[in-house]
């Protein structure tokens, strides 16, 4: 479970990006985070995997306060949170298989488990047949599927996605959304920042709208609510 209490974030340059956010996200929820550019969405997302530290307030993930968390514990947090980005962040010199396995290798998982887990997630994202390809040999949608596979390969309870479909065409976007839905159906919490009106309005889930660093709307089965 994720819980933010009275969270503020001021950047060193004085910009107040998050201005008192209170929100609870239960295990297994699917949450869209929407709002105009510069509203504080990204900061909100980044604080959840502790890329940014809140200036004030508490962020609890499974009972652990990220604001109080020591830097040395951050890697352990990251092992329980999958992160997906708009630009995939794959390593160009590694194959699809190696890119996914990388996430387990760096946490010193044993080779047997690595192989088993990688094959499982490759199956889930339907890329088994491209395991030996390099990222550059894949389409954007396929690359994003690799990235998603990597984010869930160590079975995190939460997957955080920052504009995962931002670079994709509508058809591919739905392929990606189907995968997220599948992951969510298996019990993983999904928090997704997006600008895509279409997916928010069609795959109806909880919508949190952020403007000026505050939550201005929180609907159980919401709509996008902005002109895009």
């Amino acid at each position: 479970m994720i819980e933010l209490k009275e969270v503020y974030k001021t950047y060193p340059n004085g910009v107040l990006a998050v201005n008192g956010i209170n929100v609870k996200i239960r295990q297994g929820e699917f949450v869209y985070v929407v709002g105009p550019s510069g509203a504080g969405k990204s900061t909100f997302i980044k604080m959840m995997y502790r890329e940014e530290k809140p200036s004030k307030g508490t962020i609890l993930i499974n009972g652990i306060d990220l604001a109080q968390m020591k830097n040395s514990k951050v890697p352990l947090l990251r092992r329980n949170i999958g992160v997906v980005f708009q630009d995939y962040k794959l390593l160009p010199t590694l194959t699809v298989y190696e890119n996914i396995a990388f996430a387990l290798e760096v946490i010193e998982e044993n080779p047997k488990t690595i192989k088993k887990r990688v094959m499982e997630v490759l199956d889930l994202v339907k890329l088994k047949h491209k395991a030996r390809f390099l990222p550059t040999e894949l389409s954007g949608g396929e690359q994003q599927r690799v990235s998603i596979a990597r984010s869930i390969v160590n079975k995190p309870k939460v997957v955080i996605a920052d504009e995962p479909t931002g670079n994709l065409d509508p058809e591919t976007t739905w392929e990606i959304m189907d995968i997220f839905k599948e992951i969510n159906d298996r019990g993983t919490t999904i928090v997704m920042a997006t600008h895509n009106k279409d997916i928010v309005n069609n795959l109806k889930r909880r919508v949190i709208a952020i403007e000026g660093g505050k939550i201005v709307r929180d609907q159980a089965r919401g709509v996008y609510g902005y002109e895009s």
Binding site: Y49, E51, K53, N71, S72, V74, P75, L76, L77, R78, R79, V83, K89, L91, F102, A103, E105, V106, I107, E108, P111, R150, N154
Partner: protein
Amino acid sequence: MKARTARRHVREGLRNLRRNGWMTFASVSAVAVTLMLVGVFLTVILNVNHIGTTLEKDVEIRVLVDLTATKEQQRALKDEIKKIDHVTTVKFSSKDQELDNLIKSMGQDGQAFELFEQENPLNDTYIVKTDSPDKIAPVAKKIEGLHYIDEVIYGKKQVQKLFKAVSVGRNIGLVLIVGLLFTAMFLISNTIKITIMARRREIEIMRLVGATNNFIRWPFLLEGLLLGVMGAILPIALILTGYNVVYNMLMPKLAGTMFTLLPFSPFVYQIAAILIGIGAVIGMWGSVMSIRKFLRK
């Protein structure tokens, strides 16, 4: 750390060195040049130091006692010398012993003296040592003021000049070495910074998927270590051979003087160990310095 992980780190470190071929070459050369200079300096300084300490140990004041002094007066003189500050030992050497020493020190030529059946012209002598070489001159001055002294002999100015030169040399050498070491460290740190830049994305992803900082750091640490150690190899080889040549050339010429060089073994092996150690330390330090800012937060 698991053995598998250790192997991975070594593999990654080596891959980095290969991938940045020319940078690797450049920084290894830079380290080699630096360590060469450090090595030569060290060799010279340690030898100068060695000569210095040998001389320091040898420096003594020879007090030639007036021939007219009686045994009683000699004893009184000895007590008086002993009372002077910084005097550690006062040894009596009779004029017969002095003659023996003189004859011995002249080797073959000295044998002629054994035929010399005259009265011994030498004085009874007190050999005075002080606790530190720079006290020689003041102590000698004080002894000169005592009664029944024929002459006080010590190295005087030459000795003092030598000591001064030795200590100045030591200090200059140290400053230069420290400067050079910083240069080498800077160069290694720069090389590693470039390899880190090339792998920024990889580091970012490693951090995202939960690799610990140590895990990320290790390959770079090993890379730095290898750069440093590789840089030490050439200087060690050169100093090993060079010292051998110089040693064999100079030692015969120095025979008979009080100057000696440090013997080849274990001295050069100590130098080798020091250079490898320095190379390794500056290599790792350089890499730690350059990776630090990528691992913040």
